[in-house]
């Protein structure tokens, strides 16, 4: 079991490095570098740009740059972000907690709501409620992230003033208590999280519904009914627990999807997280920052799927017991 986990970690690391490498070289191949905007800027002298380019090593061949980057990264040095003027590790260190908070909330809420909805739908499969819920889910699922985020921003914040228009917290206001501070953070978190939740919940619900529908006709569920258990107990205690595994797997898959969605949501809601760093780094050809973000993103995704594996173990006694032996 331990060796299994180790090989998963190694796998994940390899994938993360490959992703970073592809991103690095694709970005290298695209026109411009972190300093190219300066080249066309008459207020910046060509000598300064050349000196800075040499300092940052952009004058070396891409492969050499990448190798030196990888060897430094192995030692924990993620390089220097030319577009933000500070070490990549500091930039990511500042952004990562915000992204984790946003994604963690979105995952928690969307899985809780999605599972509840999926179970309710499966238990009433084929009813008007089920079909209406499916239709709404499908509709939400098909919405473009960026568009949904903007609509929510314009309507809920701009028109109805229910939520702030972005950022982490109300600026420059001293909160009278920790509780007020907490509420303020929650208020700012609500809209970006809601966007992600709306987009993700639908998928979770559909998955949960399908998984439960697949389990409900199984003999052990009939056994449970035959025992004389209430429907509620049959669905929740017997069927649902056996329909959890696909959801746990989905959790592993949802992470990368959410990371992608976060790029748009963070952009729209001025949320200073990893997604925005990715956009900035692409716009400004900041190789080190983009590669760093993707590495960290890859590690996140790998960690997510490891977590999903671990959860699967916890959820499924078969695997647990098999590993114990």
């Amino acid at each position: 079991m331990i060796s299994g986990l180790v090989s998963r970690v190694v796998q994940a690391a390899v994938v993360a490095i490959l992703v970073a490498a592809v991103a690095f070289f694709v970005l290298q191949a695209a026109p411009g570098d972190p300093l190219s905007a300066l080249v066309e800027n008459p207020s910046v002298s060509p000598a300064l740009v050349a000196a800075e380019r040499a300092r940052l090593g952009y004058d070396r061949p891409a492969a050499v740059q990448f190798l030196s980057y990888v060897s430094a990264a192995a030692g924990g040095d993620l390089g220097y972000s030319a577009s933000l003027g500070m070490p990549v590790s500091r930039v990511i260190g500042a952004a990562l907690p915000h992204t984790l908070l946003l994604m963690g909330t979105a995952i928690l809420v969307s899985f809780a709501v999605g599972i509840a909805l999926g179970v309710a739908q499966a238990a009433r499969a084929g009813t008007v409620f089920d079909r209406a819920a499916s239709a709404v889910s499908l509709f939400l699922h098909s919405l473009p992230e960026f568009w949904l985020a903007l609509v929510l921003l314009i309507v809920l914040s701009g028109r109805l003033h229910l939520f702030p228009g972005g950022g982490l917290e109300t600026l420059a206001v001293a909160h009278s208590s920790g509780w007020h501070w907490f509420l303020d953070r929650l208020h700012h978190l609500a809209l970006p999280a809601l966007t992600l939740v709306l987009l993700t919940t639908a998928g979770v619900a559909r998955f949960q519904r399908a998984a439960l529908l697949e389990v409900l006709p199984r003999d052990f569920v009939r056994t449970a009914v035959a025992k004389g258990l209430s429907r509620r107990r049959v669905v929740l205690r017997h069927a649902w627990r056996n329909a959890l595994l696909p959801i746990v797997t989905l959790l592993g898959l949802a992470l990368p999807a959410l990371v992608g969605g976060a790029v748009f949501v963070e952009q729209v809601f001025s949320w200073p997280g990893m997604g925005r760093l990715v956009v900035t780094s692409i716009e400004r050809r900041d190789y080190a920052l983009l590669t760093g973000c993707l590495l960290v993103g890859g590690v996140l995704v790998a960690a997510g799927s490891l977590l999903a594996d671990a959860l699967a173990l916890a959820v499924d006694p078969r695997q647990r017991r098999a590993n114990r032996d």
């Binding site: 080249v39 008459p42 002298s45 800075e52 921003l153 914040s157 228009g165 001293a174 920790g178």
Partner: protein, 573 residues
Amino acid sequence: MTSRFRHRHCLTVATSALIAALATACGPQADGTTGGRELAGSGNVGGTLVIASPTGPNTLMPPTVTSIQGKQLTDLIYERLADVGPAINTFGDEGFEPRLATSWDWSADSMAITFHLDPRARWHDGKPVQAGDVRYTFRVNSDSAQSSDAVYLSKVDSVSVPDSLTVTFWFAARYPEQFYDAAGRLSILPAHLLADVPAGGLNRAPEATAPVGSGPFRFVRLQPGALIELAADTGYHLGRPLLDRILMTVAPNPIAAATQLFNGEADLYEAMMPQQMGEFATHPEVVAHIEPSLTYNFLQFNLRDPRHPDRPHPLLSDRELRRALSMLIDREAIVKSAWDSLAVVGLGPFPRSLPTADTLVRQLPHDPSRGGAILDSLGWRDSNGDGIRDRDGQRLEFAVTVPTSSAFRQRIAVLLQDQFARNGVGLTVERLEFNTFLERLGRRAFDTNLGSWVLTDGSPAGSRATWGSGGNQNFGSYGNPLVDAQLDSALATFDAADRRSHFSRAYQLIVDDAPAIWLYEPRNVIGIHRRFVMPPLRTAGWWLDLPRWSVRTGEQIARDRGAASAPAAPVAP
């Protein structure tokens, strides 16, 4: 983000009325000024300004600052020897106001300027500002590998420090912008903190992200790419700024930024788009400041063949053709359609608010029939009836490159396409990602491009680089020796009237040669919360008078009452 290029033109700013008023108030000053005048003036002390900004700065180290946000912040944190003032005149020292220097003297031959530092001036860490700091700043900035300003300091021989409060700039030659180069360009750096930083390492010094200056506002904190907080330096030697705090929060999406402004979460947003103007009507608490800008946009012709830079462009190298093309375009209609009242038609290679601008430059008329007749006479006729003129089997058709980052430029490209098409000229629109657009521009690999110059400050030498023969920002490779001569004379003369007339003649020659179609000058729309009281905004930068801003009595909101120095530190729950 319609504009990405900037010029170091010497820039003037406010309306001509203001310039006149100041000119009479101060008069010519040969030997410095009265020192120690309070900067802030009267008004309530306290208040917080939250600025919503599309991006954050890439560095806060003045010699290498390149972004507008970086400039805004370092202008507030750091200080110069003297400020060019609202009537920004970079020739001589007329209109300059004392900052770190209380006064200055010219040597008899005008080959040296001696500055007397204000003994009250302090770095934000409490150390006094000394002449050694000025000399250190000069050294850093005269190294072309460390500063873009090195080119302007090439005529400074040396800087000497007779005593800790006196510093002298020795020049190798006498020229009109001597004073501006020494006093108005350089943000003075703290030698006691930076002197040990190796050459080229300034950007990696801690001060690049946590600056220590001697300006009216101190740096408080920075969340990378997200938030920067400044606080009033209560020990500022010209009197503390009235506002307590300035926060710059990054809101990359323009709709989000405007939402924050109109929700009251932010107080100022300067990149308003025309379609957002309607919001002002329903939000009286936000005032739209519609200001002339230092930006001009144009359709630039490439006079060289994009594939063979050593050859002339097969179509666009023809002056008569370019003039005829210009006559086909109804600039009024384009501006009205894309910008409504938020832009005015361009007049030539200058924005109207530039002091050397000449609004009387003779324009090529909008006259499609005359343009068409010229094209006919040049042999460009639609011989095969496909709607596009041709000559010897070649179609009168070319491409325009547009950055996808600008919705407006894309829109304008389509309007141009339409107007050209109606007159038998084919225009294909090439939409390019911004970096690619720049790269193609740099390689001069385009037929025409929708370009823009944004002047923030800088010398008129900029126009030599952008429209003079062989200029390194002259992407269209336009060149006219007569223009070069006029620009050179304009930049060398000490006589104001002479300067104006040289520039006028240069502009007229350029407009007649039609190296570009001068499309429009956008106005800056800055939304600012009503509670702020401020002097008229400067065209060279609305932020330049921020120390004088204050919050109107009785209109303070919660964040205006926050602690003066301590940032609102959240209590962990």
